[in-house]
């Protein structure tokens, strides 16, 4: 009778031990996996933060480009023109070094993965669906689209 009791207790203990060991292993694995996930998450978070800041800088570059266009129209040739173009280039260089890439648009097939259509315009029938004009340049960082190109598409 006693032996039976002991065997029963032993079996229960063994079962519990197995359960606890499995739980412990699981907890350790969870921690290791969490650490790995956390590293990925941190990297993604940093990328996201970078994208967020770049997205705020890009409109400033847009305005420099607009200023440059206007200056060209006026054809005034003095040191200030050159200076502004240089500031623009400096900003472009900085963004490029940070990994920012321009998205090509004009003349390409309209692709909503990279382009956002703002208007449909008349044009050559054979070029239907192609981008005829870029209203605002699009940018990407690695595979992340920071801002799609805003484009006009041929009907």
């Amino acid at each position: 009778m006693e032996v039976k009791k002991i065997i029963k207790a032993y079996k229960r203990c063994k079962k519990e031990r197995d359960e606890y060991l499995a739980g412990w292993k699981r907890a350790k694995a969870d921690l290791l996996n969490y650490k790995k996930d956390e590293t990925d998450r941190t990297k993604k978070l940093l990328d996201m933060e970078k994208c967020r800041i770049l997205a705020k800088i890009i409109p400033i570059l847009d305005n420099f480009k607009r200023a440059e266009e206007e200056i060209k129209k006026g054809e005034s040739d003095n040191g200030i023109t050159e200076g502004i173009t240089q500031i623009k280039r400096q900003l472009e260089d900085f963004l490029k070094k940070e990994g920012l890439e321009e998205i090509s648009a004009t003349g390409e097939e309209f692709d909503p993965n990279f382009h956002e259509a703002v208007e449909m315009v008349d044009g050559d029938k054979k070029d239907s669906g192609k981008v005829i004009e870029e209203i605002e340049k699009g940018y990407k960082l690695d595979e992340i689209i920071i801002r799609p190109s805003k484009v006009k598409v041929i009907k």
Partner: protein, 631 residues
């Protein structure tokens, strides 16, 4: 066990979440965004596009870009709402063949609204599975409280077509209440104020024993955040016209820039009281380029949008009245939707209900999180989950000057272990007292004492030299073991405190609120203790300097140093922080001066010695001091 996805299937945007370790977490879509536009399109190449990509090509393909299907789902074609929407839609809809419902044309095929919604849900499912790395079979989907049976049924069908086993379709306000854990508060009346991008809804909920009942709901399906942006756009156009005589509303590109900047300005005005709207080269005339630059303050913005806020507030009052519940019986108000970030909206809501609304959870995400929590409750097989406790109050020891030095911060998950090294406060101190404290207050005496012991037999050494390692170890049952060990002799002493977590909830609450109440005062006290400790250290070094260099310091210097030492000693126990600081500073300056003179003297002596015998020199050593010292 596979996860249950909580989905907020919105008119303009959708969001999804899952429960992880008991808490709702938003899942980003493949593009990395926390919300997905509820838009479906069929490209000219016959490719199905969903979300942001579908929206980007809308202009090129308006008749095959379907949005706002939520306004059509489960409705009859003859419903006045459908007839009203019909004319404004760029895509085609018709009466269902052989039925009363609505059908939408996408490509060459006619689909039921549920099939279109299913395409959105399918994308969410796929993206979530990719993100989580496992198949998701079950979902909880939310719908507005005013949805009837047919609309709910269709929403469920949409989920099923997408491949989900839809465990339940729940009300959006109910989900919001769940996200705030309000289901645990029985016999509660709550208001959910949902002011989104395109729609406004307000609901009154009654939380019972096991149910959450909607007592009343009203809304305006065409009142939302976008209207607020448009008011800024309109104002800018008028101002610009007055100043420059140019009408920007005719220029689609200028209009687009105005819209973007207006939305940005609106968002900024939720946190700042003034913002600059700056759009260079917005247009040009014969005189050259024109720039737009206006400053908009919060008051002006509130005037521009006063009637919009008023409309929402009036609807809220009507809903409460018709529900038969008295305003003073409403215990909680929950804010949902991005527009509730506007301070004026929050202020008005507070004004009606006389209480601060809950807004801690991101209002754009709260519904999806609530849906995920409902999933967590339904799938709530907690048998395999090991519930881990946290310590409610910080644990620490008393250090020099009667200060409470925390070792384990409150809310740390147990079991856990923490070790820190301390030292002695006086020369040749042979024992240290370890006094274990529980609480958040700065002064040891303001906290709960859990126990104390003495570690003796420390070998004689100058203050700061012995290293006493103090370890705190709490097991899963909250039993705390504290041990102290003298690293040089290896001698140790320990104490076991049972029930360090077994403090009543009321007591924890009281101690926490006391800590908050006294936070400022405690900070000042802490500064004073630190300053006194610094004074002690200063007195110790200067006295040592006097003793060690008695013969090298001039009588005059000696007198002035002694006076400064006496001054600081007399003053250091007072509460005058400023005066103590001045005295410490003066003494520090004096010791530095003397130190410099001594150093120069030593150098001179050395030079003469080197000249006498060109032998090797001995290097200089500086003693390392510990910051924290134990008494």
């Amino acid at each position: 066990m596979s996860k249950i996805l909580g989905i907020d299937l919105g008119t303009t945007f959708s969001a999804m979440a899952v429960v992880e370790s008991g808490e709702g977490r938003i899942i980003e879509n493949k593009e990395g965004a926390r919300t997905t536009p509820s838009v479906v399109a069929l490209s000219k190449k016959g490719e199905r596009l969903v979300g942001t990509i579908a929206r980007r090509q809308q202009v090129t393909n308006p008749e095959n870009t379907i949005f706002a299907t939520k306004r059509l789902i489960g409705r009859r074609f003859s419903d006045p709402e459908v007839q009203k929407e019909k004319d404004g839609l760029p895509y085609q809809i018709r009466k269902e063949e052989g039925g009363e419902g609505v059908e939408i044309k996408l490509g060459e095929k006619w689909h039921k609204p549920a099939e279109i919604s299913a395409m959105i849900l399918q994308k969410l499912k796929k993206d979530a599975e990719e993100k989580i790395g496992e198949e998701i079979k079950e979902a909880i989907i939310t719908c507005p409280a005013y949805f009837d049976d047919a609309q709910r049924k269709e929403t469920k069908i949409a989920g099923e077509i997408a491949g989900f086993n839809v465990r339940r379709v729940i009300n959006e306000p109910t989900a919001a209440a769940l996200a705030y854990g309000l289901n645990k508060k029985k016999d509660h009346q709550i208001v959910v104020f949902d002011f989104g991008g395109g729609t406004f809804d307000v609901s009154i909920l009654d939380i019972g024993e096991d149910t959450i009942e909607v007592k009343g709901t009203k809304g305006d399906s065409h009142l939302g955040g976008e209207d607020f942006d448009n008011r800024i756009v309109k104002w800018l156009i008028e101002e610009f016209k007055n100043d420059n005589g140019i009408d920007l509303s005719k220029d689609p590109l200028a209009l687009q820039r105005l819209k973007e900047e207006s939305e940005k300005a609106k968002k900024e005005l939720s946190t700042t009281t003034q913002t600059d709207i700056n759009i260079p080269f917005i247009t040009s005339d014969e005189t050259g380029p024109k720039h737009l630059n206006y400053s908009l303050n919060r008051t002006k913005f509130e005037t521009l949008t006063e009637d919009l806020v008023e409309r929402a507030i009036n609807l809220t009052k009507e809903t409460v009245e018709s529900s038969g519940i008295k305003i003073e019986d409403i215990e909680e108000v929950v804010l949902v939707g991005g527009q509730t970030r506007m301070p004026k909206v929050q202020e008005k809501v507070k004004e009606i209900f006389g209480k601060e609304p809950s807004k801690e959870i991101n209002p754009d995400e709260v519904v999806a999180i609530g849906a995920a929590i409902q999933g967590g409750i339904m799938g709530g097989d907690v048998k395999d989950v090991l519930l881990l406790d946290v310590i409610p109050l910080s644990l620490g020891i008393e250090t020099l000057g009667g200060k409470n030095t925390t070792l384990i911060e409150k809310n740390t998950t147990v079991p856990t272990q923490k070790t820190e090294t301390f030292s002695t406060a006086a020369d040749n101190q042979s024992s240290v007292q370890i006094h274990i404290l529980q609480g958040e207050r700065t002064m040891a005496s303001d906290n709960k004492s859990l126990g104390q012991f003495i570690l003796d037999g420390i070998s004689p050494a100058p203050r700061g030299v012995p290293q006493i390692e103090v370890s705190f170890d709490i097991d899963a049952n909250g039993i705390l073991d504290v041990s102290a060990k003298d690293k040089s002799t290896g001698k140790s002493q320990s104490i076991r405190i049972e029930g360090s977590c077994g403090i009543s909830d009321e007591e924890v609450k009281r101690m926490k609120s006391e800590a908050e109440k006294h936070a400022d005062e405690d900070k000042k006290k802490e500064e004073l203790i630190d300053l006194r400790n610094q004074s002690d250290q200063m007195l110790y070094t200067s006295e040592k300097m006097l003793k060690d260099n008695a013969e090298k310091i001039s009588e005059e210097e000696k007198n002035s140093l002694e006076t400064l030492i006496k001054d600081l000693r007399d003053l250091k126990e007072s509460d005058d922080v400023q005066k103590i600081k001045e005295k410490v500073e003066a003494l520090s300056q004096k010791t530095q001066e003397i130190g410099k003179t001594l150093h120069e003297q030593a150098q001179k002596e050395q030079e003469t010695q080197t000249k006498e015998n060109e032998g090797p020199q001995e290097g200089e050593y500086e003693e390392k001091k510990d910051d924290q010292e134990n008494n």
